[in-house]
């Protein structure tokens, strides 16, 4: 899991800008886990990171955010839940393959632990400050 994360950040080396996390409450995350992620409007962002299961009722919001993001844009599905439904794969109300609705660039399967994997992703983003132009 960590290896694939590193590979992705290498791929986006020159282009990657600002991530938007769909399905994560960033305020609550900073209180509970101690990870501080700055919030951005979807219009500023380039990279869409989807965490957790996406249901049919949630989908319009995801599509809205994707439409608002600036070009060129990438989509990463983080965790098994986002990729294929995880333990809810049997359910009628979830979307098993998001690629039917949105072009997906990367699938990262596996159980995510927010503390480890998100912080690795963020550190990798941090290391390219000059290009990113964000102050974490």
């Amino acid at each position: 899991m960590l290896k694939t994360l590193n590979k992705i950040t290498e791929y986006f080396d020159s282009k990657l800008c600002i991530p938007y996390f769909f399905g994560l409450n960033l305020n609550d995350l900073s209180v509970q886990e101690g990870i501080k992620i700055p919030e951005h409007d979807p219009e500023e962002c380039d990279l869409l990171v989807v965490v957790g299961v996406v249901t049919h009722k949630k989908l319009p919001f995801l599509m809205d955010i994707y439409a608002q993001m600036k070009e060129p844009k990438w989509v990463v599905l983080l965790g098994t839940d986002a990729c294929s439904g995880g333990i809810y794969y049997n359910s009628y109300s979830i979307i098993k393959d998001l690629a039917e609705y949105i072009p997906v660039d990367y699938y990262i399967p596996g159980g995510i632990s927010l503390k480890k994997d998100l912080s690795v992703l963020l550190e990798n983003l941090k290391s390219r400050k000059g290009i990113l132009g964000i102050s974490f």
Binding site: N27, D28, V53, K57, K58, Y88, N90, S91
Partner: protein, 545 residues
């Protein structure tokens, strides 16, 4: 005459007793009459649960069965009243008897196509359109993604903006900002404001609807506890506790004393965890950083106890059917007693500062719930106790060793936000007492009483093994409930002839709390809406399921 004899005289052979539960069947044309009679003359005042079942595999004359579960607090008895309905027949809406039925009836229409007269039947959980007849919980339903409706967002706004022309200038709609506490896409609460007072409000849920109950029908009887536990992540261990407890009740399996006490310890720790998580949210509204750090310390120490129990194991589930995941040694007991002293110190500092603190009281004065309303909405747990009703399942029908442990049930007077805070913080102190008593008197013996049940999750025919062990009973249905941190958390399980799961329905406390919000807030200042919503302690996945 006892209640059981009275009911037998009245309903004759339609009335049955199975274990702790009463079961009653009645015909459809008596629906209103029977339920009103039960409420007025048989003291079943309190409404607990409602669910529909599809009978297509039983090949009876009628297609569906509608179940009401009621509670009589004085006698401490629960009754399941069932009516059979055919497709096309209409039931009476009983919204006037018990208010929470409004959402239950909407869900029944959406999931099964069971219609009610005079009821507002907009789809609640799934994003399906109203006109198409799609009922995903029916047994013969197949996945058909194209029929889902994707334009919900616009639709909601269209309905909301309808206000009379005279009022449209002075009133305006806004969405409550919940981004501090919930994810953007968890749920939405819209509020209509006139001169800073709330006139109408609207709760939109179902964004995380996962269809757990349908998954249970197709799947595994052993591992379903972990699905329930996902519903409320702050109240740890409650879901899997409930599932293991109810499966053991259903198949009449005895577990050892040691695992009973261990389960109780972790459940009480879970209660503390949830209450402190809520307190941290409420404190972040006031922005007192010192006290938040005290809360964080409590949560960290609880997690330490949990991690030191599961040292080298990769499992998330502590509770396994028939016992516990692993045994403990005396070092663990001493260690965790030390940790609990730490928790007590932290909570003492919190209560010394907050109790009778005028600033803190001022921020929590609103949100009064009179006893009458609390009954009418069928609240349970701390919310009911804060309005002065002395009802706790741990006291009234004690399971495991709750009858042997010394603890008190704290009560409020007015039922406002401050009362709810006091009840919760007193409950934390009481459950710390319980944990200390249990750790001091941890019984000796093995965790697993039955060797056959060890490694049950790896076997293929699990229900066969369970049924062989329970030679005494041939029970096929059960309703069990526990005192969760939020209220009464219950589950009704129904098995078919070959012992597979026919229907599972969860009674979650948040479902009722969320739909009462518009009425609690009506006529109050806009600034009070968020503190009231916080103090109800709603976890959104419990509503969506």
């Amino acid at each position: 005459m006892s209640l059981e004899k009275k009911l037998q005289n009245r309903f004759k052979s339609n009335f049955k007793v199975e274990g702790k539960m009463y079961y009653l069947e009645a015909s459809l044309h008596e629906q209103v009459q029977v339920l009103v009679e039960l409420k007025d003359s048989f003291s079943f005042i309190f409404f607990l649960d409602f669910f529909v079942r599809d009978l297509i595999n039983e090949k009876g004359p009628k297609r569906f069965e509608v179940n009401y579960i009621l509670l009589s607090m004085g006698e401490e008895k629960r009754i399941n009243v069932a009516f059979k309905v055919d497709e096309g027949e209409k039931l009476h809406s009983l919204n006037f008897l018990w208010k929470p039925l409004a959402w239950y009836e909407r869900e029944a229409k959406e999931m099964y196509g069971v219609y009610f007269i005079y009821s507002h039947c907009k789809p609640l959980l799934t994003g399906m359109s109203e006109k198409k007849s799609m009922h995903p919980m029916r047994k013969d339903w197949k996945n058909n993604y194209e029929d889902f409706n994707f334009d919900i967002q616009k639709k909601v706004f269209d309905d909301l903006h309808y206000v009379r022309a005279e009022l449209s200038e002075s009133r305006f709609w806004t969405q409550l900002e919940l981004s501090q506490f919930y994810c953007d896409t968890d749920w939405k609460v819209f509020v209509e404001v006139e001169e800073e007072k709330i006139q109408r409000s609207f709760v939109d849920v179902g964004y995380n609807h996962l269809g757990i109950e349908k998954i249970a029908e197709n799947g595994d009887i052993v591992n379903f506890g972990s699905y329930i536990e996902q519903l409320n992540q702050n109240a740890k261990f409650m879901g899997s506790f409930l599932w293991c407890y109810s499966i053991e009740e259903l198949f009449d399996i005895q577990i050892s004393d040691r695992s009973k006490t261990l389960r109780m310890i972790f459940k009480e720790l879970g209660r503390i965890h949830d209450h402190i998580c809520l307190l941290r949210k409420q404190l972040s509204l006031v922005k007192s950083i010192e006290l938040i750090s005290h809360c964080n310390e409590v949560l960290i120490t609880i997690n330490l106890i949990f991690r030191s129990y599961l040292k080298n194991k990769n499992t998330q589930n502590l509770f396994v059917i028939g016992g516990m995941a692993s045994d403990v040694n005396s070092f663990w007991v001493i260690e965790s007693l030390e940790q609990i002293e730490k928790i007590e110190k932290n909570i003492n500092t919190i209560t010394n500062i907050l109790n009778n603190n005028t600033l803190w009281m001022e921020s929590l004065t609103t949100g009064e719930i009179p006893v009458k309303d609390a009954f009418h909405w069928s609240f349970s747990g701390p919310t009911l106790r804060a309005s002065g009703v002395n009802y706790d399942i741990r006291k009234s029908s004690p399971y495991y060793f709750y009858s042997d442990v010394n603890f008190e049930v704290p009560l409020g007077v007015k039922g406002d936000n401050y009362d709810r805070y006091l009840v919760r913080i007193r409950e934390v102190e009481e459950s710390l007492k319980i944990v200390e008593q249990l750790l001091d008197n941890l019984p000796l013996g093995k965790v697993f009483a039955n060797k056959d049940l060890y490694g049950l999750s790896r076997l293929k025919n699990k229900t066969k093994v369970l049924r062989e062990l329970s030679s005494n009973t041939q029970r096929k249905r059960v309703y069990t409930s526990i005192e969760s941190s939020n209220g009464e958390l219950g589950v009704s399980i129904i098995l078919n002839e070959s012992d597979n799961v026919e229907r599972v329905h969860l009674r979650t406390p948040s479902y009722v709390l969320a739909q009462s919000f518009p009425e609690l807030v009506k006529g109050k200042y806009y600034a009070y809406a968020l503190p009231i919503l916080m103090s109800l302690n709603i976890s959104v996945p419990e509503i969506d399921r």
